[in-house]
């Protein structure tokens, strides 16, 4: 591969790539992100390749395996370009019909296109599908059009234009000013203005300086960074090079979770190819700017997402955070000025350089500019990754894009910000998404996880869940976090088991204050947020658990009993058959009864009882009705008509 030695050569190469590409030529695009792999996209890929060969279409049709498209609920996803016909939940068996329809008959396979779950309306054209229509995919959209390892795809999609503009037409100070004026705030959780951070690093004394990409995405339920890194590694790299040039750093690090093998693979190839082409390394594109990168894998520690813990991990040490001040911009990696930003933050940089600060800042709200990628997961119909402009309401995201709550259940809360965040209830659904707005509501933007919860979610259990997560992930160095979490965990567990005491809330609040005021890092200081926010909006659930020993959501195992409603039971026997503890007494045409002493509350009977009978119910806070008399258990089937 020939090295590209100047911007002019790059443009010539780009022209040459585009000249070889016919935009009218049919292209089959298959989403090949990790989530789609899990639903079987690898098998679909093989089926497509075989079918194209079989129908002698291999040289008439392009086949592109891209990164994540975001509509993860409906994977594997196949899109036929240039028509942008979108096929969902494609199986290998569907492939022959699909290819014939798309490429020979020029028809649409109706059963595989999007169907609105409420209206039944079908949409084949990808941009018009409600899930996509309401999004603004300025950063994530590229995933749809590029094969992650392909530099040519990247360049054909306007890649590296920002890099050239930055290196050739702008000074480092101008770049920093542009990023400041754009109002780009960190997308990793803290939301600190990126341009201001860059400026600190630039002005700090000390050589060498470093730039770092934080891809240690750890919030459970958040996988935006994984999809960005998997799907568009060149995009992140371009942002990083621009930032390095602005700050005056010549060495960069990617810190990627080892749980992300596909991201690591695609990133490594991208780096190799960029180096070979002169877009990375010595004298980039003849600009005189040198910059190299190394990739470090994380080793399974959530706390390493915290910037100072990450830096310690890069140094080969245990991920224990360092006190701040001094901040990494002054004393970071090996005590040198270091700028560390999240993957999505870096990915926004080429956009800002290309479009300009004003255009970027025209999107969003006063305090939150641009877009944000969220992972919309949990009790939601359209699970996936969505990119929306700041300022959109939660209601629009959850209902217009997310398609609302499955199985006709009622929305209860949306959890944002991971273990550092909080739950936002139904009455605040018209809140505009933004850093300050979410913080004011008692949560935070965080890295972008949006977990939707319905009426069956117990909010006390949610608080316990996050504290449980943190007891394991805390580095354990400081007392407020380690010991505070230890005690918070004991208390919240007791409450969910019906052993709550009157003074528990006051104790939790005291532990929360101690954690906020005296913790070493943000993991500790935000550890009480899940409790504080669920208590703020769902106080009645805490009261019910502590005072009445009742779980209103019918979720906490120790506080519920399973009961077969004699009025509905048809004696079908499914519950008895599946009960792992032999706790159900029944027989043919006999109303079944659960022996409460043998029952372990596993919930299997509840799961297997056919919905049309709906006989198994959960009871909490009151006594289980005594078993009905033997004579009454015989089921007499009413004859129809007579």
């Amino acid at each position: 591969m020939a090295r590209i030695n100047s911007p002019a050569e790059l443009e010539a190469f780009r022209k040459e790539i585009l000249s070889r590409r016919d935009p009218t030529k049919p292209c089959i695009t298959l989403c090949s992100g990790t989530a789609c792999h899990a639903t079987g996209s690898k098998e679909v890929a093989i089926a497509i390749e075989e079918e194209l060969k079989k129908q002698a279409l291999a040289d008439k049709v392009d086949f592109r395996k891209t990164g994540c498209h975001g509509f993860c609920e409906k994977g594997p996803i196949v899109v036929i370009d240039p028509e942008e016909t979108c096929y969902l939940q494609v199986t290998p068996d569907d492939v022959p019909e699909l290819i014939t329809a798309a490429l020979k008959e020029h028809t649409v396979v109706e059963r595989l296109i999007y169907t609105d779950p409420n209206t039944g309306e079908k949409t084949a054209h990808e941009p018009e599908i409600p899930f996509y229509k309401h999004q603004k995919r300025m950063v994530f959209g590229a995933n749809r059009r590029i094969a992650p390892q392909s530099l040519e795809d990247y360049l054909a999609n306007d890649g590296a234009k920002a890099l050239v503009k930055a290196l050739v037409e702008m000074t480092p100070e101008e770049i920093i000013a542009e990023v400041k004026d754009a109002g780009l705030r960190g997308r990793g959780g803290a939301g600190f203005p990126a341009g201001v951070k860059w400026e600190f690093a630039r002005k700090s004394k000390g050589e060498p300086k470093y730039v770092v990409v934080n891809c240690d995405e750890g919030d459970p339920g958040a996988y935006m960074d994984r999809s960005l890194m998997e799907g568009n590694p060149y995009g992140v790299l371009e942002g990083l090079i621009i930032g390095a040039y602005a700050i005056g750093a010549h060495e960069g690090y990617f810190y990627v979770r080892q749980e992300y093998p596909l991201a690591l693979e695609n990133l490594s190839v991208a780096i190799e190819r960029a180096e070979a082409r002169g877009l990375l390394g010595k004298n980039i594109l003849g600009s005189g700017f040198d910059f190299t990168v190394k990739v470090h894998r994380g080793a399974g520690a959530f706390v390493c997402g915290e910037e100072t813990a990450l830096l310690r991990s890069l140094e080969g040490k245990a991920g224990e955070p360092r006190p701040r001040p001094p901040y990494p911009a002054v004393k970071g990696l090996w005590d040198k000025p270091t700028n560390i930003n999240n993957v999505e933050t870096w990915a926004n940089v080429p956009l800002i350089i290309n479009k300009g600060a004003e255009a970027f800042a025209s999107i969003g709200t006063e305090g939150s500019k641009g877009t944000k990628i969220f992972s919309l997961v949990g009790k939601i119909n359209n699970t996936g990754l969505v990119e929306v402009p700041m300022g959109i309401t939660l209601r629009e995201v959850i209902f217009d894009i997310g398609g609302g709550i499955p199985k006709g259940k009622k929305f209860k809360a949306v959890q944002t910000g991971g273990p550092s965040g909080g739950c936002i209830p139904e009455k605040l659904l018209d809140l505009k998404v933004g850093f300050d707005e979410l913080t004011k509501a008692g949560s935070m933007m965080g890295s972008g996880g949006m977990i939707i919860m319905d009426e069956e979610t117990c909010m006390v259990d949610v608080a316990r869940y996050f504290v449980d997560f943190l007891t394991d992930e805390s580095c354990g160095k400081c007392v407020p976090c380690r010991e505070g979490l230890r005690q918070m965990h004991k208390i919240l567990t007791r409450i969910t088991e019906g052993k709550g005491k009157k003074e528990d809330i006051a104790t939790l609040e005291s532990l929360a204050e101690t954690a906020v005021e005296a913790s070493l890092c943000a993991l500790g200081s935000t550890a009480a947020n899940p409790f504080l926010s669920t208590f703020r909006y769902f106080k009645e659930e805490y009261t019910a658990h502590i005072d009445d020993k009742r779980c209103p959501a019918l979720s906490c195992k120790e506080l519920i009993s399973y009961y077969i409603n004699p009025a509905n039971c048809t004696g079908c026997g499914l519950c008895l058959k599946n009960c792992p503890d032999g706790a159900i007494d029944g027989g043919k045409k006999k109303i079944h009864i659960i022996d409460q002493d043998k029952c372990t509350n596993c919930g299997t009977c509840f799961d297997v009882c056919p919905p049309k009978f709906n006989s198994v119910i959960k009871i909490s806070g009151e006594a289980v009705p005594p078993p009905i008399a033997e004579e009454q258990r015989v089921i007499v089937r009413k004859k129809k008509g007579k």
């Binding site: 894998r297 991920g319 949990g378 299997t604």
Partner: protein
């Protein structure tokens, strides 16, 4: 794992102490666990105290100081999977295998781990065995899946 191979991995990282975690990750990946003799060799060659290596090998959950079973069972306990009932799947699998998360059974057949988020939230609850994803898994379905592994 023989000393020559360990030295090879260390030399690939230029014997830099800061590469400790990367070195251990490679060894873990090839050997599936970190025997004490290996840690001692790494300590010697990278000139990092054994007490520090021990801290790092126990601090980071990617490492195992004990041999692992033939089959790695990972149950996702991410928030999305949690609200969809992952805890009950975990309890059922604990019953079936006789081990708790972090443990390996006596026949070295299964190692059970809970993991924080596999990012397949659309398929929650998710159980991953040897890298294969079993999505939308219910407690009732787990016996068949577990029993299918030798």
């Amino acid at each position: 794992m023989d000393t020559a191979r360990i030295d090879q991995i260390i030399d690939k990282h230029d014997g830099e102490a800061s590469a400790l975690i990367q070195v251990l990750l490679e060894i873990q990946s090839e050997n599936h666990w970190l025997p004490k003799a290996v840690l001692a060799r790494v300590s010697e060659k990278l000139r990092v105290p054994l007490s520090q290596i021990q801290h790092i090998a126990t601090f980071y959950k990617a490492f195992s100081l004990v041999p692992k079973g033939r089959h790695q069972v990972h149950i996702c306990m991410g928030t999305a999977c949690h609200v969809r009932g992952a805890t009950r799947v975990l309890e059922k699998v604990q019953d079936l295998t006789g081990i708790k998360p972090g443990e390996t059974d006596l026949e070295l057949k299964f190692s059970l781990e809970t993991v924080n988020c596999l990012g397949c939230c659309a398929l929650g609850p998710v159980m991953e065995i040897d890298g294969k994803t079993h999505g939308k898994i219910t407690p009732a379905e787990t016996p068949d899946v577990i029993e299918s592994y030798e």
